[in-house]
Amino acid sequence: MKFASGLCVALFCSIAVAPNVVSVVQATEPSTLTIYAAGTLAVPFRQLNALFEKNNANVTAQAQFGGSVMMAKRITDLHQDADLLAVADYSVIPKYMFASPAHAAWYAGFARNAITFVYTDKSKYAGEINAQNWYKILARPGVEIGRSNPDTDPSGYQTVQMLSLAEKFYQMPSLEQSILANAPLTNMRDTETSLISALQLGQIDYLAIYRSDALQHHLKSIDLPAKINLSDPTEAAFYKDGVAHTKNGDLFGAPIVYAITMVEGTKNAGLAEKYVALLLGPEGQAIMKNNGFGAFSPSYAVHIEAMPAELKKLVKPWPGS
């Protein structure tokens, strides 16, 4: 009897409530914004997503993280539905997303990063290493250095470019070769963050990684000079001299600038635009800065003419484009 009356109440309530539910749904349809982003962006973008969901009721911001090229190819080759693509190397967007058929028309730089080496107390020569002698210590026999694959991952070729620049900066012709001798193929992965466990377990002593990851994982890092660590867009001309020979040809150094673009033809264009505005605005830039990235004010963009009007206001032309 009790059960039956309970059931009646429940039925009544659901009938009474149902029309309201429908009207709410019609007012603001729940939608999901899908963001494909470089693995290094996982921490700041989760914070940004939380902020975005707070600002926009009934919206879920879902980010998926992976290697930049991988995420771009999931859109171009696997035809997966994403609204936004954020990559660790801005050149990935023109290379993959602008190619015919075009999946994007513009991109905006929203953060900077730097290459560094992280280590732990257990690392060989951890007590000695500093920003002045690092290149001599990393070349010592028996030091194990981890890095990501230069054939598939930006941080992989950026590490090689940085070493090539260091060779010129310190005027030591054998520097790159002697350090890479301690970073054999066995110490390589598709993305350097998957080597953090190996670093913490003492399998490797040093790991080439982005400064943002060093900060987020609370790892000790070497503060490499801005002239070689690829963090400074005004050094772009010098960075070009750093070259990485990869299976995809020779790749020349460039400042590490993270870029975002909207995927063409997305149903969520309005939301995607809002998301980019939040990222390029002061709140978004503060989140990036708190996570070890270099911020922009204002951001640089390429093909500004193709951007939505609201976003045009937030950017200036990319230097040299």
Partner: protein, 286 residues
């Protein structure tokens, strides 16, 4: 005594008789076929999609890449060693579990299943803790015999073995449990020693189950990516190579290499299944 023997031996003969008998198109069979073909379609259609996605030319090109051939060969080699080790250590373990009682037996059996539930990346990290440069096994093994698990075949094998050994142990255990202990007792009373009883009675009767388990271990080893890649990225096994091809060139090349791996694997599985059907080669009856 003779009654028991007869009744226990009969099912083995019976199996062959049932197979030889013409199958009657009863409702049971029809229903089984219907349900079964749904699953079969579910399993086979994605593979057909993969196979028809590319031309024979594509397949030929990928087969021509030395890196790809090396990666497939390395996967087969690692999986073979992993399956061999699983058989060498897993079959005795299964026999002990099937034939003896000891405190903590339930926990032991559950522990054997545990690797199947551990995310493979976590399995890889756990193995690195133990077999790494500073691990409890890794450090002494490198110092004493120069055996390294980081970026070596040994690393590939331990990663494969960890995630795939439970299949051999479980299948072999079920096989041993299905052998009536009284059969072994009769063999003993007829004068066979414990070793010959095991080799001539128990092992042949459990052979089919053991080989099924070893085949599963072999298959699971070939496909393993997550645990292997923590320890060994270079030299690349086939799954790692396929992933790298996808990152560098896109779907076409990666799918072609995957198909090549599937074709090679399919051939091996047919061979292993045939071996399992034939019966134990070392039964001593020849």
């Amino acid at each position: 005594m003779t009654d028991v023997t007869a009744s226990r031996v009969a099912p083995i003969k019976g199996r062959w008789q049932a197979r030889a008998a013409p199958s009657r198109p009863g409702t049971l069979y029809l229903l089984c076929w219907f349900c079964g073909s749904l699953l079969l379609a579910f399993l086979v259609i994605p593979l057909i999609a993969l196979a028809t996605h590319q031309s024979a030319q594509n397949l030929g090109e990928v087969a021509g890449i030395a890196d790809v051939r090396d990666a497939i060969a390395l996967s087969l080699e690692g999986a073979f060693l992993s399956a061999a080790l699983a058989a060498l250590a897993g079959v005795p373990l299964a026999y002990v579990l099937a034939r003896t009682r000891f405190p903590g037996k339930g926990v032991t059996a559950a522990l054997i299943d545990l690797p199947l539930a551990v995310p493979h990346t976590v399995a890889g990290i756990a193995l690195l803790m133990v077999f790494g440069r500073q691990g409890v096994f890794g450090e002494p093994l490198q110092a004493l015999v120069g055996l390294k698990f980081w970026g070596t075949l040994a690393g590939i094998v331990v990663a494969m073995l960890f995630v795939s050994a439970p299949y051999t142990v479980n299948a072999a255990r079920i096989g041993f449990e299905a052998v009536d202990p009284r059969l072994e007792q009769i063999a003993r009373t007829l004068g066979l020693g414990p070793w010959r009883t095991f080799l001539r009675i128990t092992l042949p009767l459990a052979w089919h189950s053991i080989m099924t388990g070893v085949t599963l271990t072999y298959a699971r080893s070939i496909s393993e990516f997550g645990a292997v890649v923590i320890l060994v990225y270079y030299p690349m096994t086939a799954p790692v190579k396929i992933y790298e091809l996808f990152l560098r060139f896109g779907l076409e090349q990666a799918a072609a290499a995957a198909l090549l791996l599937l074709i090679v694997s399919l051939g091996l599985f047919v061979l292993l299944r045939a071996l399992a059907q034939r019966g134990v080669p070392a039964s001593g009856s020849r």
